[in-house]
Amino acid sequence: MSKLSYVGIDLGSTTTKSVVIDDDLNILGRGITNSRSNYDLACQIARTEALVDAQMSRLRSTLADHRVLADHVKILAPSVERSFRYRQHIRLFDALDRECMAIAEGKPDLTAVLADLLAEMREETEKLFSGLSAMEKRKSEFFRDIAGAQFQRLAEHRANPKTMPYETIVGVFDRAIIKVENEGDDLTFEGNALEALDRSLSQYKANDAVRAAAAEMLEGLLADPPHIGCSVGTGYGRARLPFPKNQIRSEILCHGLGAHQMFPGTRTVLDIGGQDTKGIQVDDQGIVTSFQMNDRCAAGCGRYLGYIADEMNLGVHELGPLALKATRHVRISSTCTVFAGAELRERLSLGEKREDILGGLHRAIILRAMSILARSGGVDEEFTFTGGVAHNPAAVRALRDLIGENYGKRTINISPDSIYMGALGAAIFAKRETDAGRAERGVGSQSEARA
């Protein structure tokens, strides 16, 4: 990769997204991580992940074209990726293990429970990353969520209200994860790829020729890392990013530009993010002409769904498909996100069906979005839906219905990259900054950043 690449980072309230693009504005890689109080680190990890993704796709195409390795690509490519994820996960798990034991120091009962719990967690983790369907079995991609769910489940089995309350055990995790998440570790492609390949090759029982060819191929990739022209940051936490002012853009601008890049006919954008819902109108150049967003209250945003998923013990992405099965819509009277969670619990124990309640919830969210869209200037042709909630089929269906009822026929664009739209817009701004000669090379661009 001798050509330059550009990085956009969207620091959101729930997740931080990053996109790497090339000179022709093609997306090379995408990265996402959960946001945390160490904003700098959240950005570094998202960017690291985007670069890992870019390198992984290079690895896949290199493998596929390789004269020796091409025959093995179907097994080897996913296997290396899985081994790589395992390496990243186990690094964080080791840190978690250390922190938990340090917190419990001097408390023999707690130490014993934790040692046992963490040992079982480690065994489970091995299984989590083996087998072909392993990736799909996990509810979330983030270490915090995977480990948290495991920890809570295992704590439940070991808790005793009198001698070792559940809250005490889980309290250790809550404290430990904060340290683990905010201190970071080397999760880069460069730092883990060789070991990952090694693990895969031994699992695959590869012969010497394959081993040698694979090692040589990887060396080649590692010797030629992406060269980054410049990074631009956006999103909720952008003001606190360690970037010069000209490398920071408002999220409204970035979402508008990202949507325009993906669907050039776009005139109206709806972005439903973790804690805000934005209605944006753009012109034929992707420049924002007006916008509206919610404030003071998180009702109808992505976090609303997050709360509900938590309450139901589901992953967020499982909600939509379940809601589509609704036969009727239960009306949820609470506007407040926190209240809706409690109301849901009550309805469930009164025997209402999960899918019917969810059907009602999704419609409620989209109704809120419709009022924001109306205030921003309505829904013009074409309409692009972005943000994490655009992946949710039940939300999309409710949106289609309501747009049809209120505005008539509209083209509704939804990209599989909808969650990365803000980061894509930021990456395009990064290229423009570089082209204009204003970019500060290297600022936040080192791919060897220890994330």
Binding site: S13, Y166, G171, I178, C297, Y304, T337, A342
Partner: protein
């Protein structure tokens, strides 16, 4: 008549985040003695199962069998208690519980996981008026619980930390969900945990004092509900009440304040049971009459 004997009653308070159970012996002159108390958090379990579990534990602690209990009363989400005989509204049970905990109290301020309510009452725990928060979870217990989790602090540690604050910073908005992000922002700016927690206590106290004012509560007011145990919130409330000339009340609490609703339910249960016995409509009375 059987109205002359002591009654055994149970009060079950099902809240949004926890279940509280008390078992009482109530003398004919309405004097109640608490025999057992059990509280457990629900934590995504089926509330009905938690209720059954807590009730079993409470009876075990009181060394009683279910048959020995004359009347089981629920309060809060009463529908979760399948085996209840009767149900009482939260206002009346909290008032009654507060008066039992602090005799002579003229008001109760109940701070639960989702709602807060201020109750004005007379010397005999009769409710004269009340106000509740609604529609929005800001200033509720759930709110501080979320923040505490995020900060890696257990609920028990929150109060003491808050008292250490030197420069508290209030979250900018009122939404409990948005405030979480606000808090992340504060952490990233290096605001200390005591100052964050105290800031939240202050913004909660703000809303609670407004509630007291609008319910026109005066005199001795008992803090009840789970958050009464939070020393940081108590301190913020006391300061704010002292600074506000429009409220004239003295805030007190009690180690068993979290059980106020369950206590009130058990005490009202005895009153209702005696009334039913007097009318001869209680199943127990009918059974007694049949065997006589």
């Amino acid at each position: 008549m059987t109205t002359g004997k002591d009654l055994i009653t149970a009060g079950i308070d099902v809240g949004t985040s926890g279940v509280k159970v008390t078992v009482f012996r109530v003398s004919p002159d309405d004097h109640g003695t608490m025999l057992a108390k059990v509280a457990e958090r629900i934590r995504r379990r089926d509330p009905k199962l938690v209720v059954e579990h807590c009730y079993e534990l409470a009876l075990e602690a009181a060394e009683l069998t279910p048959e020995q209990v004359d009347y089981v009363a629920s309060t809060g989400e009463g529908a979760m208690v399948g085996f209840r005989r009767g149900h009482f509204y939260g206002m009346t049970t909290h008032a009654r519980g507060a008066a039992w905990l602090v005799p002579g109290a003229e008001g109760a301020l109940d701070i639960g996981a989702l709602h807060a309510r201020a109750v004005r009452m007379d010397g005999r725990a009769k409710v004269l008026g009340y106000r509740m928060t609604s529609q929005c979870a800001s200033g509720s217990g759930q709110f501080i619980e979320n923040i505490a989790r995020y900060l890696g602090v257990t609920i028990e540690e929150v109060g003491a930390l808050s008292l250490e604050a030197d420069e508290p910073e209030k979250p900018s908005g009122i939404c409990a969900v948005l405030a979480e992000t606000d808090v992340i922002n504060m952490v990233s700016r290096g605001v200390s945990r005591p100052n964050i927690l105290k800031g939240i206590h202050l913004s909660m106290a703000d809303r609670l004092v407004r509630l007291l004012r609008s319910a026109n509560v005066m005199g001795t007011v008992v803090l009840t509900g789970g958050l009464a145990a939070d020393a940081g919130l108590r301190a913020a409330l006391v300061d704010m009440v002292a600074a506000d000339k429009r409220v004239a009340c003295e805030l007190v609490t009690h180690a068993d304040a979290i059980y106020a609703g369950a206590i009130g339910a058990a005490l009202w249960a005895a009153v209702r049971h005696r009334r039913l016995l007097a009318r001869g409509t209680s199943p127990a009375a009918t059974a007694a009459a049949a065997s006589a």
